[in-house]
């Protein structure tokens, strides 16, 4: 297992290097000059702009800029944000806990709601319950998250006043006020998890039905095992393998894909922050964000592969 993880980490190096080059080139070649954008409307003279460009090393040829940047990154210095005048990586990292709590809760909701729904649908195949779950599954995919988010805000926050309309904490509350955090998280986490719930319920339904029709399940039944044992020990464990496969991709989606939810619910997470920085062409922050997110993604894939082995002993980790 250790060799496996180490080897995977070694593979990650060229991947990350490639990502860093592609990001660097795309960010720098996209139209618009960050310093001109930053100073637009201010009284900065052309000379002020050139001086700023020099401070940030933007007056150097692109390959030199890349080498300088990479060298610094290897020393864990991602440079300073043009806008915040602070360490780019530190800025980005500050937003990770906010995104992580939303992501983890959404992931938990996906598994806790999606998996049982799928299993129930399979067991109750052809009944009204199966039908309802399948309709829910289609709706979960079809309903745009931003629309659902806005509707839920209007209903639960603006009309009923049951839940807050935005943010991660009520103004004036302590950062460790967990009940207040939970109240703020309910709507965004639900909306964020909806597609996943739909995915899992459909996936699990199909997989469970397939597994249930296999010989070993029949054998288990024939052995006289209890229905519950057959279901949870034999069938579900096998049905979960594709779920783990999907998990890696979903983690990636959750890391980068909460932008819409974060925007609708004014959630200060990495998606919205990175988007804003991209618009402002804050090169150091965008580069730091992509690189750090890529590292997290690589780690999440390794975790997924390890999880495979745990769920299915036939999959050997080599």
């Amino acid at each position: 297992m250790r060799t496996f993880i180490l080897r995977r980490l070694a593979y990650a190096i060229p991947t990350l290097l490639g990502i860093s080059i592609i990001t660097f080139v795309i960010v720098h070649l996209a139209p618009g000059d960050p310093i001109r954008l930053y100073t637009f409307g201010s009284r900065a003279t052309n000379e002020d702009i050139e001086a700023l460009r020099h401070v940030y090393g933007l007056d150097q040829p692109l390959p030199i800029q890349y080498v300088n940047w990479m060298w610094k990154v290897l020393h864990l210095d991602f440079g300073q944000s043009f806008i915040y005048h602070q360490d780019a990586a530190a800025l980005f990292i500050q937003y990770i806990p906010n995104s992580l709590q939303l992501t983890v809760v959404a992931l938990a909701l996906q598994l806790l709601i999606g998996v049982p729904l799928g299993v129930i649908a399979a067991l109750k195949r052809g009944t009204w319950a199966d039908g309802a779950i399948r309709v829910f599954g289609v709706m979960g995919h079809a309903v745009p998250a931003f629309w659902l988010g806005l509707v839920l805000i209007l209903f639960f926050a603006v009309q009923l006043r049951w839940l807050p309309s935005q943010g991660l904490l009520t103004v004036g509350k302590d950062v460790w006020d967990i009940p207040d955090r939970v109240r703020h998280m309910l709507l965004p986490a639900f909306v964020l998890s909806l597609t996943g719930i739909a995915n899992y319920s459909r996936l699990l339904r199909t997989e469970t039905l397939e597994v249930l029709s296999q010989d070993f399940v029949r054998t288990a039944h024939a052995k006289g095992l209890r229905e519950r044992t057959v279901m949870f020990v034999h069938a579900l464990r096998n049905a979960l393998i594709p779920v783990v496969t999907a998990l890696g991709g979903i983690l990636a989606g959750l890391i980068g894909g909460a932008l819409v939810i974060e925007t609708v619910f004014s959630w200060p997470g990495i998606g919205r922050f990175t988007f804003q920085e991209a618009i402002a062409k804050d090169y150091p922050v965008i580069q730091a964000a992509v690189l750090i997110a890529s590292v997290l993604l690589v780690i999440s894939y390794i975790i997924r592969d390890v999880a495979y082995a745990l769920v299915d002993p036939r999959i050997a980790v080599k």
Binding site: A30, P31, G32, D33, P34, R36, L37, Y38, T39, F40, G41, S42, R43, A44, T45, N46, E47, D48, I49, E50, A51, L52, V55, I83, Y84, H85, L91, Q94, Y95, N98, L150, I153, L154, A157, V158, R161, P164, S165, Q166, G167, L168, L169, T170, V171, G172, V175, E262, T263, V264, F265, S266, P268, G269, R272, F273, F275, Q276, I279, A280, K281
Partner: protein, 584 residues
Amino acid sequence: MSHPRTGRALIAVFAASMLVATACSGGTPSASSAPSAATATAAATPQQGGRIVEGTISDIATMQPVLVNDTASGRMTGLMYDGLVQQDAKSGEVKPKLASYTTSSDGLTYTFTINDKANWSDGKPIIAQDWLTGLTAVGKSAKTVRKSTFQDVVGFNEFCAPAGSQCKATATTITGVTIDSANPKKFSVKMTKVSCPAILDLSGYTLPTQVFGKYVTATSKAEDFDNAPENLNPTVVSGPFTFKEWRKGDQVILGKNASYWQGSPNVDEYVYKVVANSTAITNGLKTGELTFGSIIAKDLADMQTVDSVRITKYQSLGYTFIGWNTASPTAVGLADKRVRQALAYGIDMDAVIKAVVFGEATKQVAHHVPVQWAYPSVALEPYKYDKAKAQQLLKDAGWVAGADGILAKDGKKFNLTISTNSGNNERETLAQVAADQYKQLGINAVSKPEAFQGLVTKLTTGDQTLEATIIGWSLGGDPDPYQIWHSSQIPDPAKSVTGFGFTYFKDPALDKAIEQGRNPTDGNCSTAARKANYETFNKILNENQPYNFGYSNNVLAVSAKTLQNFDPGSFSTIYNVHQWWIKK
């Protein structure tokens, strides 16, 4: 200037800056303030305590005034640091704040005396050296964009670094600033030339020397100041609020400065709450999560049905316009004044205002907005919608319709691309409506949204592919229009000159009026004298129409009815924040 729906406001509006590209909220001349909160509640005794939560769509970037370059950061530093002078919130007139001042008869020397009562939050008196610390920081910082603001202070250019065409970095002190040896609160600033906007610039950045002095010594480097931890965590302030906490992307929490020299604020806390967009501000105001914030015109009708809020409308210091590239090699018609006039007559701007901003704006026909004292008293051509006149002007200019109905001259068709920044719904709609209306004149007009980032670079560096561009200005405190309209600001890629003169329109009389309003040869900076120059200036623009000056939006400030003494004006919202109170 404009912020995409979900994004932060990209550009800064800072009180001291002269002009600023504005976000999609502009402002306008309907001075239809609702009955002011101040009047309504003047008789009541302020209650103590409570919290003000202001909604904003942009997080702050810094709390160091010298480095501020965005509206949000400017709001926070404005609550924590007082300037020497301030502008009247409604009229824009310059008034003393931290200091009273006199101007010498030659107009070259300003003498400031800081208020005896004015102390820092740590109890130390605010003295002249503190102002000099701020100016020294501007000179030393590598990341400020304000060096040119002080270029006319004697000795500043010799002092500031790094050496370049403005800064020489040869002196160790700024010789034009003299602190009275007998009175540490009194100092004078000598200018190299008479500059009428200078008094607002000299309001400056009074920083606590006991905190920042160590970062601006003779041996300090630029980064010592630029990276000072107190830039993100101010420990000593001169304004009504002290810094408590900055939760990035979420909120900035300020506490009251009980020893504030103008009197302790009534409320305990001022929270700057960051939300994603204007919809979130509207929702937050409805639910009471926010105490005040500005909404967009689309949400006004909805907000008017909410009992718990008060809506105050006032004119903003800005306008949204269509800038014509009068030197365009492709839309050659724009070089002709008659064509540009036709483009003013040929668009029904009043109808556009109704459609685009629900009537919450006023048509503009020149640069200054009516709330500014520089707005001309003389009548300007209103360019009322008149399609026939527009057609006649185009005909006079030699543009006649071909078989396909498209105007042409010398075998060249009148094509016109109107660009604007994508993501700004208001401007995108304006571009489409304008293109539709110009099509009816026979012009082959199309609208083209493009990313703001690229647009800014094209505009300021002289990219001739732009024919017409819709953006907006937010005008600063002083009406000096030099950076937008003086011919020296016209971009010239050949000479690496950049600037905001992207219409390429120039007129010696216009330059002269701008120069005399800014640096009068007779040294007369009186409002009357400057106003006369700006009348000439606005008349030239009104006649020549290098922009279709578009419209100026209303600011729609919404506040909880419990918030008392909230009485914003075009020039300031928070000028009396220490007197605000929450009715329980």
